[in-house]
């Protein structure tokens, strides 16, 4: 596609529920990233995929967070037993490779009530 696409753009869920956030990267981009951004803060690194594998998941805050990229393209960020503190904008980015520009989607605003 023309750019990185994230769905849904907004998600409101109840505390304790499970949510999935989707990212469609730019076609051909092998690297994919998830970030989380709280109001007034810079984006916080969560996880990075190179192809199908998670090359670095050190930014995931705890084991309630999990992400997959089974075919090396679309990625899904999964959050179990959501908490109010998970409320943030979740951003996805993709890039061709190391040293190239990374392009971001518009993000998913997650609100846990």
């Amino acid at each position: 596609g023309a750019g990185v696409s994230q769905t849904p753009s907004n998600k409101v869920t109840e505390k304790g529920k499970y949510v999935e956030l989707r990212c469609d990267p730019i076609s051909g981009h092998t690297a994919l990233y998830w970030y989380r951004q709280s109001l007034g803060q810079g984006p916080e690194f969560l996880i990075y995929f190179q192809g199908t594998g998670a090359a670095d998941d050190s930014g995931l805050p705890n084991d309630r967070f999990f992400a997959v990229r089974p075919e090396g393209s679309v990625s899904t960020l999964k959050i179990q037993r959501t908490e109010r503190g998970d409320s943030a904008v979740y951003l996805c980015a993709s890039r061709l490779g190391q040293g190239t520009e990374a392009f971001f989607g518009q993000g998913t605003r997650l609100t846990v009530v």
């Binding site: 990233y33 810079g42 990075y48 951003l91 980015a93 190391q98 392009f103």
Partner: protein, 112 residues
């Protein structure tokens, strides 16, 4: 965690003036990117500068990199009201793979 720190945190200038934002980081980098963000949503890529480069230009934007001081600056010349946004630097560290980490951002307001 955030590896970079932008300075100032907030900047307010008159339209037509130049705006300078600085980014400092802690460890060696492969490259550094500058992004703009409006209304807390998608980030727009501005410039990528590699560790062996010292200066890059793109339109009204000028980015410098001083690896000895571990700092970079973004200069916006002849600012416009539409430049009002938050600006972030993102550093790709030398000792990591392909990851990059964001700073805390500078909030720029250009007054018409």
């Amino acid at each position: 965690s955030q590896q970079g720190e932008e300075d100032p945190q907030a900047l307010s200038i008159q339209e037509g003036e130049n705006a300078t934002m600085n980014c400092s980081y802690k460890t060696s980098i492969n490259n550094l990117q500058w992004y703009r963000q409006n209304s807390g949503r998608g980030l727009v890529h501005l410039i990528l500068i590699r560790s062996n480069e010292r200066e890059k230009h793109s339109g009204r934007l000028r980015v410098t990199l001083d690896t000895s001081k571990k700092s970079s600056s973004l200069l916006i010349t002849a600012s416009r009201a539409a430049d009002t946004a938050s600006y972030f630097c993102a550093t790709a560290l030398s000792n990591t793979g392909n990851q990059f980490y964001f700073g805390t951002g500078t909030s720029l307001t250009v007054i018409p």
